[in-house]
Symmetry: C2
Subunit: 413 residues, 2 copies
């Protein structure tokens, strides 16, 4: 990255969220920031929702100087381990846990969002206007928000709320395995608005505080071009492009491919859970690997069709069929993911999937059953149930209006 | 299929081969011939390489009137079971086992080839000139013939030897499961030459024996158009098209999609075995489902790339990413296929894969290890090893020149 050396300023990266996956991603980012100091500030801030933790006496982190309940951020910064959410993993020394979200994000040019989706809006409202106006975001939050009216991408919710551009990261990744540096792959989608050639040339002054608002042409998920206002990144910084994002996220054990298709990368992460339920049921029936592969193939086709129908102009069908966020994540989810497992057990034990969910997931909820209902409500409103027979079959089976044994005849055409 | 009623003649179908898969496919064809007598002659001939079999005294097929060694064809025709190669499966009464290949094929308009690939050439030489000159073929023989000079499709070998057009069938299918009517899917590829509009209008007389040779424009696997001579099907027969082939092969438990891409359907069935070896090794290393999915994704991409480079103009990349012969067969082969299992065990037990092959396969040979060498010889000759890092890694590991642990770094780019 020698060609980036001439830039006067470096990117400061902040990670918003510090759960299992948030901390695993923060570890990667801190490793890459330390290894690429011509582009990134070495210190990476990770916002941690402060809470008290107790260090057990038999823990290697027990220290007589620190007894009783302690702040999680203090423990992380002292021991370089997120003892609560990613125990047993040594974090880089340049990763700094920050209990103040405002302090963590205020000077960051790259914001990485990795928190439960129900907290996105509240968190973004909290930092709105308190970030660099030319910052860019990457959302690592899996899935999309589907309701009867349409599909909202979390990256767009973040971008709109904060007035910045936000891309997405999704792939066949399990946080603990990535943290243990077991090899996997992921997809990053990043396609910021292009400078509007018809708008007046933006006035970029050398000091970031004086950068003007500039107009960009932006193609949204409906395929419409619209002009949006975004602040240009000051020219002292290396441009935030696919190469820079790969440098920030790619590791020998975490292979990254960067694409443009934000919608494809995002909706794959939601729709594959519906397919995983069907695969689990079919596997539970004892129909063999070929039947399971058939369900997965049909599911993949419906994912492609869904993208094509509802995100027409911006989607690239290769995201589903060739990228980690698509076919690879689908394969993993249909191999041993929780939606797959619960569906399989529900057939094997002849119990409703809600029963399995209660006994197996320790209070957590299945994503697939929720997404299947949301997607079906949306498809019904569009009058398009017939065009997605597998998604529709999954919903009907969940409702009790169809038997698993009917799947082959229902999707036959 | 009422619209086909006006045709004066029906298609007679013959199946060439009667092993495990041959008999399973013959069962399907006979079921569909019986159900669609407006299009097909009800009686379906299956050529059986004659051999003597003994019926055990405790078999339900034991009959005091027939003791001692009997002809396999007689047993099949009396008991409607291929006791030797597909025991336990009741065959339709309209499926007739014929010990004479010449008699089986001589009046057939549709020839279905399903025999071990090493017998293709000899068998075709034997019936050359003894079939209807306007017959059409479907090859159910998996894989392709790869050597340093190029890749030959079995369907093309058949077609060239017999002077007919031959398509291909391949999918995520296990013969015994299909025979037991466990649900699966398959792909049929069929793209016969189109009538050459520049050639003189062919003279079709009502009697098939007087049909003239007509010229067709044929796009071969290299993408070149060439004019070939084929006999047109007499107009008394329903045309042999995608609909008719679907009617002949599709069952409620065996879903068929018909496409044009013969090369894609054929090479998928060979290349997926290379990927299955890599998936087995990675699984044997205990790297988890995401690493396995990553290997499968990279493998699928290399399959697409291979098709694109060497079958350029005729291939449709969706064959690999959307059809049963492609992604679904890859998934099945990487779930529990023999290449996958032997590779996995070889890592787990730290033994060469040849050792596992000997102890696990009861004298049979792995297809994947052979294909990996053949494909590598071909790629080396083209100077293209670098463009197929996973295929190349598999070959090097088999040769002992690379460790499985090096796969991620070798394919990293």
């Amino acid at each position: 990255m020698g060609s980036l050396a001439p830039y006067q300023r470096k990117h400061r990266v902040a990670v918003v969220g510090s759960g299992n996956w948030g901390t695993a991603i923060a570890k990667i980012i801190a490793e890459n920031a330390a290894a690429n100091t011509a582009i990134f500030e070495e210190k990476v801030d990770m916002w941690v929702f402060e809470e008290k933790v107790e260090i057990a006496k038999d823990s290697p982190h027990h220290d007589p100087a620190f007894t009783g309940p302690q702040n999680l951020t203090d423990v992380i910064n002292r021991t370089h381990e997120n003892v609560k959410y990613l125990p047993g993993i040594l974090l880089p020394a340049n990763l700094h846990a920050n209990p103040s979200i405002e302090a963590a994000v205020k000077d960051a040019t790259i914001l990485v969002f990795n928190l439960p989706h129900q907290f996105i809006l509240k968190t973004c409202e909290q930092i709105k206007g308190k970030i660099l106006p030319y910052a860019r975001g990457i959302s690592c939050i899996k899935g999309v928000d589907v309701n009867e009216e349409g599909i909202n991408l979390f990256s767009e919710t973040i971008g709109k709320t904060l007035g910045i551009y936000c891309g997405a990261l999704s792939g066949a990744n399990i946080a603990n395995e990535v943290a243990q540096e077991k090899w996997s792959e992921t997809s990053i989608a990043y396609d910021p608005p292009h400078l509007d050639s018809k708008a007046p040339t933006p006035q970029r002054s050398p000091s970031s505080s004086q950068v003007d608002l500039v107009h960009f042409q932006h193609r949204d998920t409906s395929g419409q071009f619209s002009t949006v206002k975004l602040q240009a990144l000051p020219s002292e910084y290396p441009p935030i492009n696919h190469d820079v994002l790969k440098t920030l996220f790619h590791r020998p054990y975490f292979h990254v491919r960067v694409v443009n298709d934000v919608a494809g990368v995002s909706i794959s992460g939601a729709l594959k859970n519906i397919v995983a339920l069907a695969a689990g049921w079919v596997d539970g029936m004892g129909w063999g690997d070929n039947a399971k592969a058939a369900v997965m193939r049909v599911g993949l086709m419906e994912m492609v069709r869904f993208g094509d129908k509802f995100f027409g102009a911006t989607i690239d069908q290769r995201t589903f069929t060739e990228e980690s966020a698509g076919v690879a994540d689908l394969i993993t989810s249909c191999s041993g993911g929780r939606n797959f497992r619960c569906a399989k057990h529900s057939v094997e034990r002849n119990l409703p999937i809600e029963e399995i969910e209660k006994t197996e997931l320790n209070g957590q909820k299945l994503q697939g059953t929720l997404t299947a209902v949301e997607v079906n409500n949306f498809l019904k409103k569009q009058g398009m149930e017939d065009q997605f027979p597998l998604f529709t079959a999954v919903h009907r089976i969940l409702e009790g209006n169809m038997q698993v044994a009917e799947i082959p005849s229902y999707i036959e055409r």
